[in-house]
């Protein structure tokens, strides 16, 4: 049907890298032991899990003993937030997050609200950045936890995580960072930055789905949400997903390599090419999020007078995979709460589009996407009663 397939939805998920899959393969049918078993099958599995833990720890500058594996990023977010809040609820019941967090964070906070916690939600500016002064003034003597994402999944903007960490560190408040979009894509060091807990997800960095990681700084106490056999230092019970964890380790290794071989810089160049092509060749098309303080692989837009889903499906027909925060893709009537929190109008927010590049994205892919998008926008605008420049 289409001449070409271009996947540009790496913020949604990535393909498991071949080297990662190679590393995982032995742990399904050959080295299949339960890491908790004493025998040779178990010991080999335990060794593999330990090695993977070292690699994931190394990716963010943590110690292996500070990494807990979970069944995904959402679970790690829930564990961090609910776990820390419950462990510290005698110290206070006030918790803080931001208006543009992923649902895994937002909904964990809503649940805390139901359990009697008080939640403050920090606003963001028009580029989706939280103001440090807003954080400072939200903090109260009974604040026990702040959760702020490293980079936003919809619009790519980085938060001032290091400054926020310093403020929380000074006041003895636990500082959690949802690093699902950032970890493995930009180098950073949890210890240097003063992060107390960091959520990661393997499938966002060329690892397998269904494996998450939570860095918990030594000394930070949290309660588990999955109780049982006491695996992962009692913080996440259940037979370890050995193959998945091994894959996460291999993905972390791959990511570490990409930090030093110029890959990230090239990603930034391609991203900027896409941003420039779209905003210059399509009228009434706007970049969302910060122009420079954004994920290296992330280009997001709002396209005036159009609705996101219709663009997505036309792109899909052209072999291009992208995403949108449009209401129609979420099944609700409201467009993305992230875009609305940035002050974008409902009308414009309905026309959101996200292209997230990957390690195998080429210049040709960028050109293909930009050209197709231009044509699709023109076609759909010919149908749109909102579009002014007709005829």
């Amino acid at each position: 049907m289409t001449e070409r397939y271009v996947y540009m939805d790496h913020s949604a998920t990535t393909a498991v890298d071949r080297s990662v899959l190679e590393a995982m393969l032995p742990y399904f049918s050959e080295e299949f032991g339960n890491p908790n078993s004493l025998h040779i099958w178990g010991r080999k599995a335990r060794k593999a899990v330990n090695e993977a833990r070292e690699k994931v720890a190394a990716l963010v500058g943590a110690d292996a003993s500070e990494i807990i594996f979970t069944g995904g990023g959402s679970e790690a977010d829930n564990l961090a937030i609910k776990g820390a809040a419950f462990a510290r609820r005698d110290k206070g019941r006030h918790v803080i997050t931001t208006a543009i967090e992923h649902h895994a964070v937002i909904d964990a906070f809503h649940w805390l609200e139901d359990q009697g916690f008080e939640v403050t939600v920090l606003p963001v500016d028009e580029r989706a950045m939280v103001g440090i002064s807003d954080l400072e003034s939200a903090i109260r003597p009974d604040t026990i936890l702040v959760s702020m994402m490293y980079a936003n999944n919809e619009v790519g903007t980085f938060q001032p995580v290091a400054e926020a960490a310093r403020i929380c560190n000074d006041r003895g408040i636990i500082f959690h960072v949802d690093g699902v979009q950032a970890a493995g894509h930009i180098p950073f060091n949890v210890r240097d930055m003063g992060i107390d807990m960091l959520t990661m997800s393997a499938h966002k960095m060329y690892g397998p789905k269904g494996v998450g990681g939570l860095y918990i700084r030594k000394g930070v106490k949290i309660q588990p949400i999955v109780h049982g056999g006491g695996q992962e230092r009692g913080l996440r019970s259940g037979t370890e997903n050995t193959a998945g964890i091994v894959g996460f380790g291999a993905a972390a290794d791959l990511a570490s390599m990409r930090f030093t071989d110029g890959s990230i810089e090239e990603e930034v160049r391609l991203r900027d090419l896409l941003i420039d092509s779209v905003t210059s060749s399509i009228e009434d098309a706007y970049l969302t999020g910060h122009r420079t303080e954004r994920l290296p692989f992330h280009a997001s837009f709002c396209i005036g007078s159009l609705e996101g889903e219709s663009m997505l499906l036309r792109l899909d027909a052209a072999g291009i995979g992208a995403s949108s925060g449009s209401a129609c893709t979420s099944g609700s009537l409201e467009p993305s709460y992230v875009l609305l929190a940035m002050g974008i109008t409902h009308e414009l927010a309905h026309g959101s589009l996200r292209f997230s590049l990957g390690k195998d994205t080429t210049r040709e892919d960028i050109v293909y996407v930009a050209e197709n998008l231009k044509k699709i926008v023109a076609d759909l605008r010919a149908l749109s009663p909102l579009w002014k420049n007709r005829g």
Partner: protein, 129 residues
């Protein structure tokens, strides 16, 4: 998620675009909600002889617009008014539950265009009188 029929009409909508000098125009929906449907009709002897639409909205809104315009083309106004959103959904081979409102817009769009036509005609007749 969508039926083949929906995708076919979304990719190649029939009766799409603005109409010059329509006899009636109906606009329903709300940009805030991400859906606007504008239906243009030409009427002769109480019959819809030409029709087109402009739609801001998702694939099912576009497909519903295309489908409803095809369905009512050539019908008398009263016949057209009898077309319900269910008829549109059925003709499309079904819509996902959260997209049923698109078919409702299609029904309402036709009604609004016919009402507009009748109001104008009435106004015209009265003006002549």
């Amino acid at each position: 998620m969508y039926t083949e029929k929906v995708m076919e009409l979304f990719m190649n909508p029939k009766n799409a675009g603005r109409m010059e000098d329509p006899d009636g125009v109906g606009e329903v929906g709300n940009p805030r909600c991400g859906d606007i449907m504008k239906i243009y009709i030409k009427v002769k002897d109480e019959r819809i002889v030409d029709i087109s639409f402009e739609t801001f909205g998702c694939a099912s809104a576009i497909a519903s617009s295309s489908m409803v315009t095809e369905m009512v083309k050539g019908l008398t106004l009263d016949e057209a008014l009898a077309i319900s959103n269910k008829d549109v959904v059925n003709a499309l081979g079904g819509l996902p539950p959260q997209k049923i409102h698109c078919s409702l817009l299609a029904e309402e769009g036709i009604q609004a265009a016919i009402e507009d036509y009748r109001a104008k005609r009435k106004a015209g007749v009265e003006a002549k009188a």
